[in-house]
């Protein structure tokens, strides 16, 4: 399965958003996920299956003025 993650092509076995986040070792607390320009709330991550060609944006809050 090929995904576009933050603009970069990544490959992996089919999985849910929750599984993908866990595989990457990302801290879920700080993470905001957008799938094909739709925001996916954290409680939905285990239910949403990633598909070939999906565009995933992983964002977080940072310092800014």
């Amino acid at each position: 399965m090929e995904l576009i993650v933050n603009g970069v092509v990544e490959t992996g076995a089919p999985c849910t958003i929750a599984e993908w986040v866990a595989q990457k070792g990302l801290a879920p607390g700080a993470l905001v996920v957008e799938l094909n320009q739709q925001i996916i709330k954290q409680e939905q991550w285990p239910m949403v299956q990633l598909k070939e060609g999906d565009h995933l944006e992983l964002l977080s809050f940072v310092g800014g003025g």
């Binding site: 933050n6 990302l26 801290a27 700080a30 957008e34 964002l59 809050f61 003025g65």
Partner: protein
């Protein structure tokens, strides 16, 4: 002075210093700065994460009683600003949004036209919209009509610490707008903040001048005092100026008269 509060979209602030989270040497300085300055609203930005490194969650450093003001920095169009605003709200950051649309990378001048478009859209969606703009009175009136909760004119370009270079233009907004005017960007010293408040600004937003001071916590406190002094002076109504001297002591009854 006790009841001198600022209302922003239903939120009542008793402190008129808004702060930012950018450029601190360590995130741990942020809660200390907030405690020292009394600031009740602070900006954050949203960015793509680097999936190869682990980093701290900045929200962990902001006490829950402080209201988050996410900004749309990084947006180069109204459409991008709207997208960032919606993400910030979905992420649980509340309804406040500082619209920042910048297309000029040398001076970081806000794009007033795109900012107005984003304000129109987001206000309709129920956001509490605080647009960051180059001070321009007709634009400010359009922002008001579009539902902006405040207008945030710049004093000088972001991060320059040059103060109120746009002072006469900000004064026009203060005199003619009904929504609060919050001077944002360019304020480099507490005296700049005091000057903005003295002339009737409703609040100021300070980031660089606090975060990059040698002691950001002490500087946060200095800005708090300056904002309070400026506000008190505004409410007391300043005495008039004169081109010639006006004696403070009586001009009669001298010893040799």
């Amino acid at each position: 002075m006790k009841d001198d509060t600022l209302q922003l979209g239903g939120k009542i602030l008793s402190n008129r210093l808004l702060t930012g989270t950018g450029k601190f040497a360590a995130h741990a300085q942020i809660p200390e700065m907030l405690a020292a300055s009394g600031s009740q609203m602070i900006t954050v930005a949203l960015r793509r994460i680097d999936t190869t490194t682990r980093s701290e969650n900045i929200l962990d450093f902001i006490p829950k009683k402080v209201t988050l003001l996410p900004n749309t920095s990084g947006a180069r169009s109204a459409e991008q600003a709207v997208r960032i605003a919606r993400i910030a709200r979905e992420a649980g950051c509340g309804d406040f949004i500082k619209i920042e649309v910048i297309t000029d990378m040398r001076y970081l001048m806000p794009d007033n036209w795109e900012t107005l478009k984003a304000t129109e859209i987001l206000a309709k969606e129920g956001f509490i919209v605080l647009p960051y703009v180059l001070p321009d009175l007709p634009l400010a009136k359009r922002l008001e009509n579009a539902g902006a909760a405040a207008v945030m004119p710049l004093g000088a370009p972001i991060g320059t610490n040059r103060g109120l270079e746009t002072k006469p233009l900000i004064e026009m907004l203060i005199e003619n707008c009904t929504v609060p005017i919050i001077v944002d960007a360019g304020i480099g010293r507490p005296s700049h903040a005091a000057a903005a408040m003295e002339m009737g600004a409703d609040a100021v937003l300070v980031n660089t001048a606090i975060a990059t001071a040698k002691d950001p916590v002490a500087m946060g406190r200095a800005f708090d005092l300056a904002v309070k002094a400026g506000r008190a002076a505004y409410l007391a109504e300043l005495a008039g100026e004169s081109a010639t001297a006006r004696a403070s002591s009586p001009l009669t009854g001298f010893l040799d008269e």
